[in-house]
């Protein structure tokens, strides 16, 4: 019995991801030995901050049996409105205000998604698509399209706070890891704890597994669905504001198009699109893999214009592999 368990552990989604990540690093490292340095780790960590946060949002929604394609649009509104107010209406120099308003906006749109999916019972894909256009269409219509690149002092202060500073010995370049990196780290820990040790988390798995059984068991399906989308909205809002701080840029279209990467990271990480499966560890590995691929295609000699295609190919292969694995596991009968 134990041999079987060890075997299944070694071939689990997470382990396979680990193998692939290691293999990829080796391939890149062989071509470019400079890859094996703390600089790479810092760059990957920095690049993966947003993807990781968004992936957590998406994961929670996917586990509950839904899907959310509106988070880029919600994020854009959440980052744009506070900056618009600060720059065009009244200069409020408060990080609390910026983040607070962003989170509030995310919360409101999350509630909208929750309302559409759990009260009106609309298909999540289409419902969140609708929210996406309502959000992005609405904000641009009302507030126009500008780019805000100057941060108020309080936000600038955050930008200047780095937890790791590394200077590469050869090139003399300085690599900085911002304090905001702690946000996805803490969020991962928090979400992992919630999913494993709270009835709220188990409830999400329950409704993702079988909504009717969950209802019969006494779970409040509506409340759980609301929570999933609202949580996603709130974290999206916070992440969007982090984007503004770190990238020094707030526009109405910055995050658009990211849905695919994020969903792919989740699916590759073992989260099933049908719901009820998946965990934080897998998603972290999925995000690491995708971030590695996205940021190192240059090192592999793949020209920029081909990178979208290559990423798409990898995502498609990853999806096929995880789907095949999922089917295999639900066929073995004990």
């Amino acid at each position: 019995m134990n041999k079987l368990k060890t075997k299944s552990l070694l071939t689990s989604t997470q382990m396979i991801l680990l193998y692939v990540i290691v293999a990829f690093c080796l391939v890149v490292g062989i071509r470019q030995p400079a890859f094996f340095s703390p600089a790479t780790v810092i760059t990957i960590c920095r690049a993966g901050i947003f993807t990781m946060c968004f992936a957590l949002c998406e994961m929670v929604v996917l586990i509950s049996g839904g899907i959310d394609v509106s988070f880029p649009a919600i994020g854009c509104v959440a980052m744009y409105v506070p900056m618009y107010i600060i720059n065009r209406v009244t200069p409020i120099d408060s990080a609390l205000f910026a983040f607070g308003l962003a989170i509030l906006i995310g919360l409101l749109f999350g509630l909208l998604n929750g309302f559409l999916v759990s009260i009106l019972r609309l298909p999540p894909l289409i419902a969140t698509l609708a929210t996406s256009s309502i959000a992005s269409g609405g904000v641009v219509t009302l507030l126009g399209t500008r780019e805000f690149t100057t941060l108020p002092d309080s936000l600038q202060a955050i930008y200047n706070t780095n937890i790791i500073t590394y200077t590469a010995p050869g090139t003399g370049f300085t690599y900085l890891l911002n304090v905001l990196f702690l946000v996805p780290v803490l969020a991962c820990l928090g979400v992992a704890w919630m999913l494993r040790y709270t009835m709220l988390g188990r409830g999400l798995y329950a409704i993702g597994g079988d909504k009717n059984a969950a209802r019969v068991a006494g779970f409040n399906v509506r409340r759980l669905q609301f929570f999933a989308y609202t949580f996603s909205g709130v974290l999206t809002g916070a992440t969007a504001m982090m984007y503004t701080v770190l990238m020094h840029s707030s526009t109405t279209s910055a995050l658009m198009g990211d849905e695919m990467i994020v969903i792919a990271a989740c699916v590759i990480g073992g989260v099933r699109i049908t719901g009820g499966h998946g965990g934080v560890l897998g998603v972290v590995l999925g995000v690491v893999l995708i971030t590695l691929v996205q940021n190192n295609l240059n090192m592999l000699g793949i020209p920029t214009s081909w990178q979208t295609f290559v990423v798409g190919l990898i995502i498609l292969l990853g999806t096929i592999i995880t789907s095949w694995q999922a089917k295999r596991s639900s066929h073995g009968k004990a």
């Binding site: 494993r196 040790y197 009835m199 798995y205 597994g209 068991a217 006494g218 009968k333 004990a334």
Partner: protein, 496 residues
Amino acid sequence: MADEVFLKLKGIKKSFGGVHALNGVDLEIRRGEIHCLAGENGCGKSTLIKAISGVHRVDEGEIWIEGKLCNKMNPIDAINKGIQVIYQDFAVFPNLTVAENIALNGEVKNKAKLVNWKEIHRVAAEAMAQVGAEIDPDVKLEQLSVANKQMVAICRAIINDAKFLILDEPTTALTAREVEKLWTVVRALKEKGIAVMIVNHKLDEIYQIADRLTILRNGAYVSSGPIHEYDQARFTRDMTGRDISQEKYLPKASEEEIFRVENLSLPGAFKDVSFSVHKGDVLGLTGLLGSGRGEIGEALFGIEPAQSGHIYLNGQEITIKNVADAIHNKIGYVPEDRLTEGLFMDRSILDNTIATSIRKYFHGIKLDKAAMEEATDRWIREIGVVTPSSKPAVRTLSGGNAQKVVISKWLNTDPKLFILNGPTVGVDVGAKSEIHAILRELAQKGIGIIVISDDLPELLQNCNKIVVMRDGRVAAVVDNSIEQKELSDLLMGRAE
């Protein structure tokens, strides 16, 4: 032990939109007894269960639980009174572990906010110990067999202080050994003073387990009593209201062979299967679940084709490697699960009837709609589907009428061999005999008919030849002069 009465129903009546589902039902369940509720499809069993468990309010009659009148229950009240129902689909979470499935409901009821995994494992272990189940608590439910899933559902039911457990047709998807295991568990529950009501219509299983039996027919109470007061004849008479002995199908013997299989094998399902169907035969194919009876049907239809052996249709050898081959060779198949495999519920009767034969209406450049309608109307008349026209969706039809549509679909393809898997499951008594009559007529016309079923009375009444499968091999080929008890023994392997 079993003297006090736990549940008493008197004169229960319930209608839905003018149709009487329950028309005067009495029932008495004593503490710690194993009680079987039997009746044909459409007799009101599920409505009764729903009334007892608080899902439906009854129109008339009294419900007494532990001496108190409880007519106005809702599902939570019923659970609080110790009534638990295990439905056929178990309502379990395939993506959660065994331990969670058992213990989670309890946690929800206690309004717990945090998850205490130790507690969950303890509760699960305790429940499994009580029923004697040995399942790895950390396995995800989707990886379990049906029997084990059912075991988990039972464990879940009893941790909620159940006093009365209702099992709705629990043996349908179990093999013989699993049924034995289930009875062991049920007896263990009885030892603990929990009353168990098992809804079942198979007499041999009822003999194995029941203390007492209640029979319903057409929504009304027929009879009740200790199991030893029922013999085969009384059982069938009370269930159907008829004596079956005169109605056995005895066609004229014919030499003309329609269909033959020789040494058909599919590793893991069946081995060396040989039998033949002559003109006028209605061949029964039976056996316990896992004996290969269903697998042969699906092999002949090309869903999971055989890997070796020979198949002869009207003297010619044919190969069946997929569904297209089967249809090309004029083989028709009415699947076991009508709702998910046989019908397009939202589409009209017309669409469902021509679904398989649609190509024959494609002339030149487009479909001949008029011909399609004419054919459908003809089948509706000939087979007797109760409907105002061919336009309504099949969803609006009763089980019997829907099954007739499935049959029409295949008859419209002019089959030479017609295989039906469980043709009268979920079909009311009236439609059941009509379908049997249709099959006999088709057999007389020279169409090979194979009926796969585990309903022994149905087989004995309608099939002149019965192939008994056991453990993947043909155990015997008998004619319908055999006694039901003997036939049942052959299935179980208790003959010698």
